[in-house]
């Protein structure tokens, strides 16, 4: 996983729920391409046609609220979304995104409009809006999540380590 990502922003509002990321009627499948085909369909029907691989989805507060369906981050990732940025995420979506290896970062003060070119430095935790010339700090990600994301997801993490560490570190660091 390259630690500096660049892509165009697609900006949405607060409380983007998992039904609007991938409707429940499409979730019963193991065919990830069929998930990607319907990503964000009820939120932004033109998204799939407009987006390019590497583009970034930007939400406001509580991105990914609702169901536990991992199909939501999988649909975004399979469609080619490189990173999801929000002021903060709903808890289950946040875990799921990291578990499937889709970087999800919390940036409290991001200013971005759809079409802006963003650069994300995952290791430093910095998002630059190259179109507006601004720089924003990401919230620190829990160490356990950073370890899972660095491995490429929880499947790869457990394939490498076989188990969780005996006690996760009590401090948040990026």
């Amino acid at each position: 996983m390259s630690s500096i990502l660049k892509g165009q922003a697609h900006v949405y509002g607060d409380d983007v729920d998992t039904d609007r990321i991938i409707p429940g009627k499409y979730t019963k499948t193991l065919d990830l391409q069929s998930l990607a085909a319907h990503v964000l369909e009820d939120l932004d029907p033109d998204f799939r046609g407009r987006m390019a691989t590497g583009d970034m989805v930007v939400g406001g507060d509580n991105f990914g609220c609702g169901s536990s369906r991992e199909q939501a981050p999988l649909a975004l990732k399979t469609a080619g979304v490189s990173v999801v940025i929000a002021r903060y995420f709903a808890r289950i979506f946040y875990r799921n995104a990291i578990n499937v290896g889709l970087p999800a970062i919390e940036v409290p003060d991001l200013q971005a409009s759809t079409g802006d070119l963003l650069s994300v430095d995952l290791s430093r935790g910095v998002v630059s809006n190259l179109s507006q010339g601004t720089e924003h700090r990401a919230q620190a990600m829990p160490e356990m999540m950073m370890a899972i994301l660095s491995a490429g997801g929880l499947v790869e993490y457990l394939r490498q380590h076989g188990d969780y560490p005996p006690t996760a570190q009590p401090r948040d660091t990026l």
């Binding site: 039904d19 369909e41 009820d42 609220c65 536990s68 991992e70 808890r91 499947v155 996760a168």
Partner: protein, 412 residues
């Protein structure tokens, strides 16, 4: 400083005293996945090198979200779950057994004080029992199968104290929707909620189930209901928070004057007095889902519809939350009564709530449902509008063809 209920349960599982903000890796007492989440979990389990699941005696798979299968794709996913369960020796609840959450509670697969992980967001329902139960996605669940453990951040807790008694005809769902409206869809994100107070103590298990179920609609990781007044069919040791526990917020609500509530289409937290929408025509009423598909909900609907028929142009669809509930409603005549009133019964399971199979609304329809979510497209059609209400409100709307205060039907 004393401990909240969440800190207490996680301390017992971590084997040391833990405080909110700490990260723990803890042993899981039981886990569950449905036909939405199990197929991906099976794939992830195999991909992460899993061979035998850690604790098959306390692992359940449930076919409830699209049951019976509406097409060959889903039929094959169900077969994958059956095959996996035969190989692993875990219990599988097949088509028609009921909704995962109803089955876990009714069959005592989850008990007070336990740590239970479910690959379904409404796993928080088991907070009704005082279990630390939370929803995760498929890969987190596969990791539970692989390791027997999960990593968690010990949450801060919001204390929600409910004082008073609900007026006759006002239901636990009205209280629940009211609280969802008050806290908001993200009000308790990353946090636990403890529900306590006289208004909670008077709730039966079903009412507590309804309340804890929608803790996720308040954004919470878990919604723990204080055990005072809890009656269960087996002996248990009630766990309580310490009196000097540290809460991030303490909210107090008086419910003596609470009126029937309704969540307006788009988001569960857009909650209003039902009266504000009285007269709105509806064409489709649904009773069921993990929040309100229980026997007492069918009884309430039968009372509202007694000696009446649903309005012309309205369909009333009912999916009991389990086969056992359906059987009891058959035996006591409720199914016959509701069917005579014009209701259509679906197999026990999630039914139309998640829009995968039976009962998808048409374009422009207005639906009133007892379910817990009404996000755009939730029931399978983004061009339908879905109101959420109590079973009484849904039955009253089915009877009159419009949103109607149900309390007069329950007073007689």
């Amino acid at each position: 400083m004393g401990q909240t209920l969440a800190e207490k349960i996680l301390s017992l599982h971590a084997g040391r005293l833990v405080k909110s903000g700490e990260f723990v890796v803890v042993d899981v007492d039981g886990s569950m996945a449905s036909d939405t989440t199990a197929p991906l979990a099976i794939k992830a389990f195999k991909d992460m090198g899993g061979q035998r699941i850690h604790d098959p005696q306390h692992t359940w798979l449930v076919i409830d979200h699209a049951a019976p299968a509406p097409n060959e794709r889903i039929g094959n996913l169900h077969e994958l779950m059956r095959r996996f369960s035969r190989e692993q020796g875990n219990m599988l609840y097949d088509v028609g057994a009921g909704i995962c959450h109803q089955l876990m509670i009714d069959n005592a697969h989850v008990r007070p004080g336990q740590l239970f992980i479910g690959a379904d967001s409404h796993t928080c329902s088991y907070g009704a029992l005082g279990a630390f139960a939370t929803g995760v996605g498929s890969t987190d669940l596969a990791a539970v199968w692989r390791t027997g453990k999960i990593w968690l951040k010990v949450p801060q807790t919001i204390k929600v104290e409910v004082r008073g008694v609900l007026k006759p005809g006002v239901q636990a769902k009205d209280l629940t929707l009211f609280l969802v409206g008050q806290l908001g869809i993200s009000g308790a994100t990353y946090q636990a909620i403890e529900f306590c107070g006289s208004g909670i103590e008077s709730l039966d298990l079903g009412g507590r189930f309804t309340l804890a179920n929608m803790a996720i609609e308040m954004g919470a990781k878990v919604g723990l209901v204080h055990p005072a007044g809890l009656k269960l069919p087996y002996p248990f040791t009630p766990l309580t928070a310490d009196p000097d526990a540290d809460y991030v917020q303490h909210l107090i609500y008086d419910i003596d004057r609470l009126k029937p509530q309704l969540s307006a289409p788009g988001s569960p937290d857009d909650v209003h007095q039902l009266q504000d929408y009285a007269g709105t025509p509806i064409s489709y009423a649904f009773i069921g889902s993990c929040v309100n598909g229980r026997l007492e909900d069918l009884h309430t609907a039968a009372r509202v519809l007694r000696d009446a028929h649903i309005a012309p142009g309205v369909r009333l669809v009912i999916a009991p939350a389990s086969r056992d509930i359906f059987l009891r409603a058959l035996d006591d005549g409720t199914v016959a009564e509701l069917t005579r009133a014009g209701a259509t019964f679906l197999p026990s399971g999630c039914g139309p709530c998640v829009g995968t199979h039976a009962g998808v609304p048409g374009d422009g329809e207005t639906v009133i449902s007892t379910a817990n979510r009404n996000f755009k497209g939730r029931m399978g059609n983004p061009r339908a509008r879905v109101f959420l209400g109590a079973p009484s409100a849904v039955a009253a709307a089915a009877r009159t063809g419009q949103i109607t205060d149900p309390t007069p039907f329950l007073e007689s």
